[in-house]
Each structure stands twice: as structure tokens, then as C-alpha cells.
Subunit: 441 residues, 2 copies
């Protein structure tokens, strides 16, 4: 018997939505706090028998409404399954339960000289299970890949309670279809992840970091393109626009905006980190108003702090909706300019940070506190950004997922035949539609 | 109308099998040599209407019987669709037709200072379409990933002739289920790939290479494990055993075997290549009988030539069956020792090369010319290797695919529930079972 079945209003309210800004009109019927695989199995058997929809939930830090739940649904909270089962340095592999926080895994890997490559900005508060559900990315992905590339195998519970293992413990493997990669990014709609075998990598021998300021976003994007053209491959390449810099200055008492209207933060790693950052500086200098490089980790943290502070700083000034479009990297300049034009045209405040190395933009729509962000003018501005991304050959979501909020847009990106295949796959895994209905595809 | 429909015995015989050593008892009914997407569409519409099984075929270099065809089946030869449609250096992306040879793509990328990371030993003769079908690996995968990580999007024709596009042009993207990754490695059983958008990477600024000789495989495997423990990440780490070295010596007049019973070739790349190879030398030296490092590309090619020569050298001495098991890297020593024990016990000659960095072994079963390799004692030895890999927590196939030959083993690795899901997916894509029946899952 599942011990932690919660039906009080506080628990149901706490489990009703995520950090997307979406406000569900009703609350889920109950919350199951599972701490063992057996409890997950039991919950799903009961759900199948009673035809009750189940919304799997990790740390609740999603940004697309993927774990929103409503009346008639039961939330399956996996945050209590938070054991790091094993870190095997000889295999460069970790085995974890889904509720482990991403930063905690990275720290455990660090004790063995290893790291976990995907590093969503939410790493300190988001769980591996949620990272797997959304195929989370982060800052280092252009060099080291996204969550899908870091997941070697999964332990799943299907909607009917059957347990299935996918994947393997090896870096290579091609026995059967890639069910692991299929479940990664499926937003809890195909199966419940109760365990994951993850790839770790050796911590870089060294890092070197550079901050460059530019007159405007066009110059910064041109500088980023020049890095690509020069064949340099930083591990981090983060762009912050003027609106982002102004928010950080207001929150931290810095004067970043005075140095230019755009900031590009670049980090190189590996045995040649210093040599490569010198090459980066040589390429960026002609575009920049000023720049500073360092191989000192403390000083590097200081430079990167500006990037980390953007979202908290914006959240101090209002409610936010964080978009997540990605474009081919040659379209980065067009994308950031397009977002600024949308902001100017609609009068909706939008600050943009971007993972410049992989063309992944996070335009942050900021509204007065208490204003709904998923309707009216703010949502229309967000939709204009979706339109822009698709027009530039990009995608609606680079790393946050489709969830509830981008679902109506999905057919525009994927087309009907592709969606039909995806619905067919959903029916193979979950013929009764028990798992996270109305999310993802 | 499809112009190139071939029914002569020569064409049918040439398209009946691959390089696996499998000998089909009958020949396919016909071969369609498609040169346009429209011809593929037309062929599959006809096949669906007439319920004729179709075997997609690239360059025919497969090693698992994945493109073997027999009476009642029609081969769809895509080797004539061999255009490199675009190389877009600003996006680090290439768009290609499936018949492009992997080495030709890499050369085209090289003109822009880029490279295509997956580098199967067959790169000069195998096609991208075949690489996608088997999720091909190669030497550089431990650092740069396998084919699945290099494929951003696919143009597909379904069994009924419908065209579907999957994926995107961006590094990140999580709109919908990962149909791209599902088709990669599906061995032509889900759809026919008629186009691919591939990720390119900047060519490393420098490389440095080291060859180390060891008394035996145990010492070489221990040295490789020590590299892992030291947090070094070579781009190439190739192991050759005594039987392989003897064959190379006989073919090339070298004296590699006299320097030790095992050879480990290591390459590092990037801005810190020289520094890293020095660190590699420091770690390997205590285990090695001798070693030599170089940063000169010509001299490096000379060192790597020994590895490239192993298979051709073995093929001079008999017919071969190339196995492809992968084990967790901590099990590398146990795996190579186990293969040698199987060879000693069965009297079947087996030489082993291994991608040591990712635990992917290629034990090469060598028989007298004309002896069938997929039956009798050679096959029993091969099956003992499969057994060994599974017992060590590994997989039947790291990068060659299941094809025809490993199919009976698949349930052992995957289990019945996983296979049932995979059959369900197959039915979603190809409900009539038109595409490559009897292969893969």
C-alpha cells in the first residue's frame, strides 16, 4: 500500500503547477509521494485499473507547464526517490533515482574527478527526472551535448505498472530501437522514469574565462559568429542583452550596462584552455568595446555571476515567462534583433539571454506582478517570438519542453504526418492515455 | 516511372548480401537503383500496394547481414543518391543524400575547417545512409559521440510512400518525441532515409599521437584504465592484440609483435593536444615496454597505419567475421582475456582490436577461406563472445547493428517487454511489415 497519499488542499495546490507562470483553474485530486519503485508500480496499476490520469512530477521547476495537474488527475511526486545509487568512476557512469537534484549528482561526480555535463541554469533546484523529461540542456551543451547524450539507460514503469529497462551501461550500443532516447524529452507521457544510468565525463584539466562588452547585440552576435568561423569551441558562450544587464545592475549594484549594450561570456576548458581563450580574445577584440580574460577560477566565477543573476534580477521586477526558442546559429543576430523588435512593437518588456554557441535564446517576458503571462499582450508577444523562431528555421523549444503552453504550436513545427507517428508511439506505450494527458505531443 | 529496375542475375547477386560473411540461400527478385526521392516514393507506394518486402541498401558494407535480401524481396539501392546538398559552415551543418560516402562528407567538411565526427573504419567505403541505419561509431566516439549524436534531422519516406521530416537544424530541440534518434540505428526497418541534416564540428587546432607496446593485454588494459582514472580524454584509444599484430607484421613486413603482445594507440586533440599527450605518456609509461609520441601528423599516420592494417591483413589470411561487442570500460581487461580464452578453448582463431576508450571490442573470427563463418565452430565461438559480453554487463553490438545474425540473441539482451514495445513502434511506422523484414528487432 502506498503510504504517502495526500489529499489536503495545501499538498494539492503545491503540486498543481510548475514555474512556467501557468495557473491551473482546478487542483489535482491527490498527490502520491513515492519513495520506492514498488510504490510507483502500485500507483500506476491502480491508475490503469481505475482509468485515472497520472501527472509525474519531479522538483516542479519546469517552465512549460509540463507537470501542471488539474481536477480528475493524480500527481505522482518522485522527488522523494532521491538516492544516488552508485558513482562508478572506472566506467564513468552514475546510477541515480529520478529525484536526485542535478547539482547534487554533479557534486558527487566531482568527488571522483568527474562531472555531469548537462547544466541547466536550474541545476541546483531541478531533478534528474525532470531533466530527462524535458531533455534539459544548459550552458555547456554546444561542446558536451544535452541530457539525451548523457543518458545511457533508463529504468521505467509503464502506465500499466510493468517495469522495463532500456539502454545499456556502455557509451556505444545499437541493440534494438533507441527507447532510451525516445523517453528522454517525452515529458512524462510515455513512462515514469524510476532510475537512470548516466554518463559522466572527466573534469577538464583547466578552464579559462573571458567577458566581452559590445555596443549592441548585432556586434556581439557577429563576434560569436566569428568564433564559429575561427573553429574555436568554447564550452560556454553566453549572451546577455541590455535589458538583462540593466536588471542585474539594479539588483547587484554593478555597472555592466555602462560598458556596452551586450555582454558575451566565454569559457574554454581542457589542457589547452589558456591557449584557446587567447585565440578567443584575438577574434572578439575587434568587435568589443572592452574585454577581460582570466584563468583564475574565483575571478571566472565573478564574471559568470552576471549571467546567473539575470533571471533572479528580472524576477525581482515582476512576474516572468521564460521562452526557449532555438535557431540555426547563423540566425542568432536575426533572432535577437527580432525579439527586440517584438518588444518595441508590442510594448511588452522582454530581456534576452542566449546560449550563443548553440543558437538557443531565452527571451524573458516580464510583466507587472500579478499579471497573467500566458494570456493577453504578454502571450501575444511570446507567440510572436515562436513565429520568429520558426520563420528563421528554428524550433519552439530548445531545452524546456512543449508542456502545456506550446502544444497548440506544435503542429506548425512538426506537421501532421510526424504528429500522427508520435501519437502512434504514445499509444504503444500508454494505450489508455493514463500518463500526463494533454502535455507534450 | 522508376528507370533503373534491374532483374538480371548479376545485379541481384551483387545486392543479395553485405560484408558480414552471411550467404543468403536465394537472390532478391529485383534491384531498384533510385536516384531521386520521387523514385523512392514510387517504389514504396508500389511495394505497399503489392505487399512486396523492400530491403533498403546503401554501400553494402554492413557487417551483420542487415541488408541481406532473398527471394520475394526487392532491394532499394540508394547508393546513387550521393549528392552533398549543402555544407553550411556558419551553422556547422551539412545536408546530404544517403548515398554519400562518409569519408567524402568529411573531406567536404574539411574544406571549411570542419569535420564529421563519426569515423567508422569503413568510412572510405560506407555511406551515410548505412551509417545512420546502424548508428555507426568509429575511433573518435568516446570523445565526440556516435552517429546518433551527429544527426540533427532526417528526411524519410515511410513504407506507404509518405514523406516525413524529423528533427531540426539546431543542436538543441525538444519539440515532440525524438523520431530522428529512433530511426538512427533502426537498420532500415522503420523508414527509408532520403536525406540527412548532420552536425559538423570544428577541426581540432592540433593533434598529438602516441604508440605504446605492452607485454600483454592485461598490462595494456590496465594502462587504458589508468588513463581513465587520470581524467584524460584522448580522441582515439585503439588496442590491438598479438594475433592482430602478427597479421600486420606478415602483411607489411613490420616487427610490431617483437615489441610486445599488445599495442595501444592514443591520439589527443585540441589546443592542449601536446600537453595532454605528455600526460598520457606519463600515465602509460609504467605499464609499457616501450612508447613513442609525436605531434607530427605524417609520423602519426605511420603509427595509426598499424591499426588500419589489421583487418586487411587478417583478410589476406582467410575469411573473417567481425564481432562488435561492447562492455563497461572497467570490464575491458576481462573481455579481452575472455575472448582469448574462447579462442584457446575452441581452437577458432580470433584476433581482437578494440576501441578501448568506450569498451567496444571487435574480436575478428578468422577461418580458412571458403569455410562458412556463421555456422559450426566459428559461429559457436562467436556466440561464446556474445555470452561473455552480456555476462560482463555489455551489449551484443556497439556499432555494427543486429542485422540478421544477432537477431536470435536480442531477446537475451532486451527482454520480452522491451521487445514488445519495439514491435509496437515498428507497427506504427510500417504496419504491413514492408521494410527490411527479419532484420533488427
Amino acid at each position: 500500500m502506498v503510504r504517502a497519499l495526500l489529499t489536503d488542499e495545501g499538498s494539492r495546490r503545491a503540486a498543481a503547477t510548475d514555474r512556467s507562470g501557468h495557473r491551473p483553474a482546478t487542483l489535482p485530486d491527490a498527490v502520491v509521494r513515492a519513495t520506492t519503485v514498488e510504490e510507483v508500480v502500485e500507483t500506476l496499476r491502480w491508475a490503469t485499473a481505475s482509468r485515472t490520469p497520472v501527472v509525474p512530477r519531479g522538483a516542479g521547476t519546469g517552465l512549460a507547464g509540463g507537470s501542471s495537474a488539474r481536477a480528475g488527475e493524480v500527481v505522482l511526486d518522485l522527488s522523494g526517490m532521491d538516492r544516488i545509487v552508485a558513482v562508478r568512476p572506472d566506467d564513468q557512469v552514475a546510477v541515480v533515482e529520478p529525484g536526485v537534484l542535478t547539482a547534487d549528482l554533479d557534486a558527487a561526480a566531482g568527488e571522483h574527478g568527474l562531472f555531469y555535463a548537462p547544466d541547466p541554469a536550474s541545476a541546483a533546484i531541478s531533478s534528474i527526472g525532470g531533466n530527462i523529461a524535458t531533455n534539459a540542456g544548459g550552458l555547456r551543451c554546444a561542446k558536451y551535448g544535452v541530457t539525451r547524450e548523457a543518458v545511457l539507460g533508463l529504468d521505467l514503469v509503464l502506465a500499466d505498472g510493468r517495469r522495463v529497462t532500456t539502454g545499456r551501461q556502455t557509451v556505444k550500443g545499437v541493440a534494438g530501437y533507441d527507447l532510451t532516447g525516445l523517453v528522454v524529452g517525452s515529458e512524462g507521457t510515455l513512462a515514469v522514469v524510476v532510475g537512470a544510468t548516466l554518463r559522466l565525463r572527466p573534469r577538464p584539466a583547466a578552464t579559462a574565462t573571458l567577458a566581452a562588452h559590445f555596443d549592441g547585440l548585432v556586434a556581439a552576435a557577429a563576434a560569436s559568429a566569428a568564433l564559429t568561423a575561427a573553429g574555436l569551441q568554447p564550452s560556454v558562450q553566453e549572451l546577455v542583452d541590455a535589458a538583462g544587464l540593466e536588471a542585474v545592475d539594479a539588483a547587484r549594484g554593478t555597472a555592466l550596462r555602462s560598458r556596452g549594450a551586450a555582454l558575451l561570456l566565454v569559457q574554454c576548458d581542457g589542457h589547452g584552455a589558456r591557449t584557446e581563450i587567447d585565440a578567443v580574445a584575438g577574434v572578439l577584440a575587434p568587435f568589443a568595446t572592452s574585454w577581460r580574460a582570466t584563468a583564475d577560477p574565483m575571478e571566472a566565477e565573478e564574471l559568470l555571476a552576471a549571467r546567473r543573476a539575470v533571471l533572479p534580477a528580472l524576477e525581482r521586477t515582476g512576474d516572468v515567462f521564460i521562452e526557449d526558442v532555438a535557431v540555426p546559429r547563423s540566425q542568432l543576430a536575426a533572432a535577437v534583433a527580432g525579439v527586440q523588435a517584438i518588444s518595441a512593437r508590442t510594448g511588452v518588456r522582454i530581456a534576452t539571454v542566449a546560449h550563443a554557441g548553440d543558437g538557443n535564446l531565452h527571451p524573458v517576458v516580464v510583466v507587472e506582478r500579478g499579471t497573467p503571462v500566458t494570456e493577453g499582450a504578454p502571450w501575444e508577444a511570446a507567440c510572436a517570438v515562436f513565429d520568429l523562431a520558426l520563420a528563421l528555421g528554428g524550433t519552439l523549444t530548445g531545452e524546456h519542453g512543449v508542456g502545456l503552453l506550446k502544444r497548440t504550436w506544435l503542429h506548425r513545427e512538426l506537421g501532421e504526418d510526424s504528429l500522427a507517428l508520435q501519437r502512434g508511439i504514445k499509444a504503444v506505450f500508454d494505450p489508455l492515455g493514463i500518463l500526463n494527458p494533454g502535455k507534450g505531443i
